[in-house]
Amino acid sequence: MLLRLFAITCKEVRQLARDRLTFGMIVGIPLMQILLFGYAINFDVRDLDAAVVDEARTSHSRALIADLQATGVIVLRPPSPGLPDLRRRMESGEISVGIVIPHDFERRRLGNDRAVAQILVNGSEPMIDAVARGLASVPLPVRAGDYKSRTPVFEVRTEYNPERRTAVQIVPALIGVILNMTMVIFTAAAIVRERERGNLELLIATPIRSWELMAGKLIPYVLIGLIQTTLILTVGARIFDVPINGSLLDLYLAAALFIAATLTLGLVISTFARTQFQAFQLSFLTLLPSILLSGFMFPFDGMPPLARMIAQALPLTHFVEMIRAILLRGAPLAAMQVPAMKLGAFLVIALAIATLRFHKRLD
């Protein structure tokens, strides 16, 4: 019994080692992704192109413009003569932010009933809107360099990520995204490939049991998943200074549970797909909702109820929750029982579906 399991595992490892491209992907995909996400995805938006229409031309209006520029969020391009020109420049994509200071700026400033100035934002791009709203809260100068001491109601402190760096939010969850991507595709393809090439017909005519065949094929990928986890963690810590506050053992246990869950998802897909191409398509079908709904990029709590229900059925949602807690907040695994149990439930249900659907027969 163990002999057959071992035989399948050995064969898989041997084939993997000889498949240079796949072997390269095991290391290549995580490396490429973490560098891509780490550098390109940046929610700390800076240096947005902006232009000003200053119809007031007072010392105060110039002081306001200087304050806005000093935030570093915008870079001022040459000023516009009027609103139509500003809109045209935004339309052409030259600027993302427009600042309009009306000619009655001084009167508005002294009165308290109307906004003193207007910020126009290119809402067709993500994130910029939120940035502009931040800009709008810049306090009004009484005179250049001097501010009415308007004490803010709240002081905001960002715990676990005081510098508010995107990498810290992204990298832990990225472990999940990358594992999700590679594990599902690799297992689905590994089984469907044998079906496509006719190997499976030979295998099911041998005394091998379904579970031996499946488990034997999954074991090498669990190891690969743990190697990928290590790789992303190392790069994350070295290049992007992502803290590792929790216990490494807890982290690897959580990762192993998640890997097992995604592998069984791959198994389920393999029982539906007839060709490797179909397996890839089905894998991507599960990948996109995982990335969008898991809380990896967008806060889970802000989603409509239906999206949250779908997200509950995705293993990535629960893993993102666990890994952020362990890695950033230093939470012990014991405090993560609810997401861990949900992952476990997914594993059991998916395994049951895969086993029920996989027969040692061709029909």
Binding site: R4, A205, T206, P207
Partner: protein, 328 residues
């Protein structure tokens, strides 16, 4: 898990290796196998002869438990299939139509792997691998990847893998379809060696010369067995007289002959015509000559022994009848 299931009957007591009754398999609206009865004796080579799509592969897959029959019963080595399929796995050897060992593993790795999967203990596995490597002349290819082997070499490897665990029954699905004539002859030598050791072999083919080598034969067409028996018997009991015609103008001769209602089929072999005639016709060779003389075609004719191809043509409805018959 490794315990040998209690055998319902020891090998010697079951007269037949395979017995099937009314075996049927439908795929949607298509009936691939339609009510087949089989009695395959032990230690014999039993052949399935038929064109592509006649149901050979589907029947073999049902016999080794890979497909569930839509109707009918199958008894293999005294066990009911597909119910006891798992118990029988170690006693059956199956060679798929397409080469299905692993291209990226070497000959040695493939054999080791199959030995492990069949649960052979290390010592026996080593011994058996050594035996089949010698038997199927694989020693020089031992470290070569299966993907780089020629058609004949692959087929030797596949048969070596299928016989590694010393099965009592071998099911071979068109094993020689991608193999050169010399390799085919060597392959059949190996099959007779296996039969001499008491192995039962079921082999499907669409080659007449291979079918002729079998102890017994079933001719399949459109999912039915249309003729069954030893090849010699099938050839001598063919329901037609066979006349060979030598004519200068074969085209004219052919045109003249197909108009005769007693002529069942005409096939051309080089400058000769092979004519199947209604067996009730007296002196068929003269009948042919008269017909040709009437059409002023110069020709000679002789009554000859039927070949297996004639049997096949007769069994499948003499070509023109088969063409007119709707697909069933």
């Amino acid at each position: 898990m490794n315990a040998v299931p209690q055998q319902i009957a020891p090998p010697g007591e079951v007269a037949h290796a395979i017995r099937a009754r009314g075996l049927t398999r439908r795929f949607g609206h298509v009936t691939a196998v339609d009510g087949i009865d089989l009695d395959i004796p032990r230690a014999r080579i039993y052949g399935f002869l038929g064109p592509n799509g006649s149901g050979k592969s589907t029947t073999i897959r049902m016999l080794c438990g890979l497909l569930q029959p839509s109707a009918g019963t199958v008894d293999v080595l005294g066990h009911e299939m597909p119910r006891d399929a798992e118990q029988l796995r170690t006693r059956l050897g199956y060679m798929t139509q397409k080469f299905s060992l692993w291209d990226d593993l070497t000959v040695s790795e493939n054999l080791q792997f199959m030995g492990q999967v069949f649960g052979l203990p290390a010592q026996r596995r080593r011994a058996r691998v050594a035996v089949v490597v010698q038997e199927f002349d694989l020693a020089s290819l031992f470290k070569q990847r299966a993907g780089t082997l020629s058609g004949g070499q692959r087929q030797r490897l596949a048969l070596a893998a299928a016989t590694l665990h010393e099965p009592e029954l071998l099911l071979l699905d068109e094993p020689t379809s991608a193999v050169d004539p010399q390799s085919r002859r060597d392959f059949w030598e190996s099959l007779f060696d296996l039969v001499a050791r008491g192995v039962t072999i079921l082999v499907s083919t669409h080659y007449m010369d291979e079918a002729e080598r079998c102890h017994e034969l079933a001719i399949l067409a459109s999912g039915r067995i249309v003729a069954q028996g030893p090849p010699q018997q099938l050839m001598s009991e063919i329901p037609a007289a066979v006349v060979e015609v030598e004519a200068a103008d074969t085209v004219a001769a052919r045109r003249a002959l197909v108009q005769d209602e007693s002529v069942l089929s005409v096939a051309q072999l080089g400058t000769r015509l092979h004519v199947l005639i209604d067996p009730a016709t007296p002196e068929p060779e003269n009948r042919v000559l008269q017909r040709l003389r009437a059409a002023s075609v110069a020709a000679q004719s002789t009554l000859v022994r039927a070949s297996l191809e004639d049997v096949f043509v007769a069994a499948t409805g003499f070509g023109r009848a088969a063409g007119a018959r709707p697909q069933d």
